[in-house]
Symmetry: C2
Subunit: 308 residues, 2 copies
């Protein structure tokens, strides 16, 4: 017996919500196929797509570790499961690639074993998987990829997460330049403290961002989408970041910042037509620099991961 | 002709929203009476109550400066106005005393001159008045005192402020120990940067606090009311602060922190009965220390300042 699941890309941080917010895209995303096997043990048997140097060792693979933790919890330690990971998300892109594989894996295994856990119950296992890649437990990609929507994480340890309202007509334009940034490197360059004025400004913006979403107030959403803490420190990792941002804003984006740890850059837009223009203008900056890139257009994915 | 206005006390910061949030109480508050005079000029003619060393010079008095700025804006520079300030709020209490006088003054003069400005239009003048006392422009007491409700300030310079939802049944218990803290002193002791982990925690709490209010989720409001940035630095200014906080929490408060720059301590509670018990228990800690104190109980004031 086999089950296939799809888990979408996600934007961690959403600019103003470092480590505490994320949202899901409709496409692209990773697919995981799990097969029940007569041979006990959890194995990664196949990987396709941009798997880079992803390890086949179960404990070192985000999908493998997530499934290990889930089957331990279920007491299904004698079970045999073969896992295929079909990477459609580029690694080290800031698009939540590790999270998507872990999410798709736990959702597929939950179905395969008829375990009956709901998505919120599956969250800790997907997080445990993603932590293998990121080095720490953060739900800001895992939670939106699994549950869909725009997710606010009050506390990672207690999975105190909250789904925010998605205004109708909110679209994402994303450009991913073909350069790789390791999340661990992008974390290492961050200063260990935030100056008080930026602290006040960022708290005001993140709290008001929630209000803007709630009230379908696109203008307010735009005013809040200004990361004065993390973006200035990470912009240097992405060639031409500020030009891309300026291009997005000129083309009508509400706001534009780094997706997760980058190098993908996202812009939130009102309406799909604006998003299309914004994506095109952002990509032009990379074309001018002779850096390969891909663009993605998507509304917020309200469903999250699904069994295919 | 005379007009009298009342402006209520307010809780700046509300724990997790340093410099960006405030809420209004129903009582106590300051009263300002303005009289039209045939003698041109803006004068403070009388002060009653806890006026301490408040200056009578118009430019140095929060009510006087607020009225000066308003009449300048209205082009009413030849007008004669005598101002009486009846202080019911203790000075240097953290209860928004300077803001209340400035707010009541502009509201009264707007009525006296039939200027027809709405409250949001009056906000900058009240803020200019309050800045005389605080040394900088902050709307976190002025805005709630004027408009009522729970107010989030995205930006002080553009008066980009947002009224948050007040859950039905939300009550405030407040204890004010009879010691004085100058806002300027309370600002001076703050470190100039916030460590990254506390930054992440506080942004998560303040954004989730907005969600908790919106969803009438008292448990979430409680989990969010934990100031890990400012409170630990200012607690030392209030004798027995942590005992007061522990007493409030034991008595059923959702959360408890310093009101504004202190020394007043507020607790948010579900229901007036709980608020009553919480206030009593908080006060006991000051009684044990032989420190005089007053307690206040109030729902959130949804109306703000009024003409009496």
């Amino acid at each position: 017996m086999s089950v296939k699941a799809f888990a979408p890309a996600s934007i961690g941080n959403i600019g103003v919500g470092f480590d505490i917010m994320g949202l899901a895209l409709e496409q692209p995303g990773d697919e995981v196929v799990v097969h029940q096997s007569t041979q006990p043990g959890i194995r990664i048997t196949k990987m396709t797509g941009d798997q880079g140097k992803l390890p086949y060792e179960t404990e070192k693979n985000t999908a493998g570790m997530a499934v290990l933790r889930l089957t331990e919890y279920l007491g299904a330690t004698n079970i045999g499961i073969d896992i295929e990971v079909h990477k459609k998300l580029p690694l080290g892109s800031g698009m939540g690639s590790s999270a998507a594989s872990a999410v798709a894996a736990v959702l597929a295994v939950n179905e395969l074993l008829k375990a009956g856990l709901n998505k919120k119950q599956l969250l800790p296992f997907a997080c445990a998987g993603e932590a293998v890649a990121s080095g720490s437990l953060h739900a800001d990609n895992v939670a939106p990829s699994l549950l869909g929507g725009i997710i606010l994480i009050r506390d990672n340890h207690t999975y105190d997460i909250h789904r925010l309202h998605t205004p109708s007509g909110l679209y994402v334009a994303m450009v991913h330049p073909n350069i790789r940034i390791l999340t661990s490197e992008a974390r290492a360059i961050l200063k260990d403290a935030v100056p008080m004025p930026q602290f006040v400004q960022q708290t005001a913006n993140v709290a008001s961002f929630v209000v803007g979403l709630q009230n379908n107030d696109f203008a307010l959403i735009g005013r809040c989408l200004r990361d004065v803490v993390i973006e200035p420190q990470r912009a240097q990792l992405i060639p031409g970041f500020y030009d891309v941002q300026a291009a997005a804003m000129s083309a009508g984006a509400l706001g534009c910042s780094i997706s997760g740890a980058g190098p993908a850059i996202f812009a939130l837009c009102e309406g799909s037509k604006t998003a299309e223009m914004v994506a095109t203008e952002m990509q032009k900056v990379f074309i001018a620099q002779k850096i390969e890139s891909n663009i993605y257009l998507s509304p917020v994915n309200e469903t999250g991961a699904v069994i295919c």
